[in-house]
Subunit: 212 residues, 2 copies
């Protein structure tokens, strides 16, 4: 596999979109697609699609198109989601619990191996099959769990300190649901799930719509 | 207020980021900031910050900087999140329940006024103070709720049909948590919360890191 550090992040984001679409196609028993069809269904234009794939070698056959199953498995391999990866969830509130029960994670081989919280009322309880651990013991427990990906599902005021504890415990990638901007050490990747931001953008778009 | 259709979406997304940062600053009792400070804290460069604001008129004073409270309230007004907006949640599973209980929504004046599900076991139950309604009655009930924003928190296989019902019920903006690409009628805005995509991108970045 060709892993090049020069692949732009938007390309990676689009790869994840193509993958989602390919999974839908496979479920609909469609064997082959064209880049024009990809454009029609995902809204990403055909030339962009071909360019995105070109970072990773040869795909598809001229005049025939792309084999759905093959393309899907190659993209999954590129994104490393064809293999099991351990993930811990930090925060066992409503959102943390919803994430532990979210089937989509397991489908992409993200295995939740631990859930942490600071509340004495929660520690020792179970979410689905996973026991909630004391977040004060994160470093010690993650020494055996070896998760390098953590999902931050704590309230905004606690997120920065939780992020630091996670980095200290060997976590190298943080998916942050808290509506704050995390400061992390070099070598730690953060991606934000900003649904409040998405709502604010839509809110502006709606207002535009009314004034038109 | 100057509402121009030409404002790029990334500018709107960054406005939402600035707002988040300004709220943190206000909580820390900081009165004034410079664009350099914004760059340091948000990672968005100072020139970009000034350009983003320039779409909406004059902000800040040369040599003094930006008043935190004033900038915050102007951005909130631009994004229309300084006024109450009704939101309905479609899907009363773990994710839908977590959203209903999420305090950040109310802080930005997104008021959840209804929750819908198709499961007879859930209909009539309450999540926090809101009773779950039958999604088959969405159009009828939303005729009085008048929500124009809906959050889709149903499983992937149900999301497309739920999106269509929502549009039919007068919803004009959909925040989609389901990992599929929704097709919607013109005049309906969709934004996706793709945390599986975010995880996949991080997964690639982690793998790169190992090979370095």
């Amino acid at each position: 596999m060709n892993i090049s550090p020069k692949v732009p992040i938007p390309t990676l984001e689009r790869l994840a979109t193509y993958l989602r679409y390919l999974i839908d196609l496979e479920a609909s028993s469609i064997d082959t697609i064209s880049s024009t069809e990809v454009e029609k269904q995902t809204g990403i234009n055909a030339a962009q699609f071909r360019k995105d794939l070109s970072y990773f070698g040869e795909f598809g056959k001229p005049g025939v198109g792309y084999n759905v199953v093959e393309l899907q498995s190659r993209i999954a391999r590129i994104l490393q989601i064809d293999r099991d990866q351990s993930v811990i969830v930090l925060g066992a509130g409503n959102l943390g619990s919803a994430l532990v029960g979210y089937p989509g994670l397991g489908e992409q081989h993200f295995n939740i191996v631990g859930v942490f919280d600071q509340s004495p009322k929660k520690i020792g309880q179970k979410i689905f099959h996973i026991e909630i651990s004391d977040i004060a013991r994160l470093k010690e427990i993650n020494a055996s769990l070896q998760a390098r990906i953590a999902i931050i599902a704590v309230p905004a005021h606690a997120a920065q300190s939780v992020a630091e504890s996670a980095a200290d415990a060997g976590v190298r990638a943080l998916l942050n649901f808290a509506p704050i901007i995390l400061k992390v050490a070099e070598g730690v990747v953060v991606r934000n799930v900003s649904f409040l931001q998405e709502l604010a953008v839509m809110s502006y778009q709606l207002a535009l719509d009314i004034r038109r």
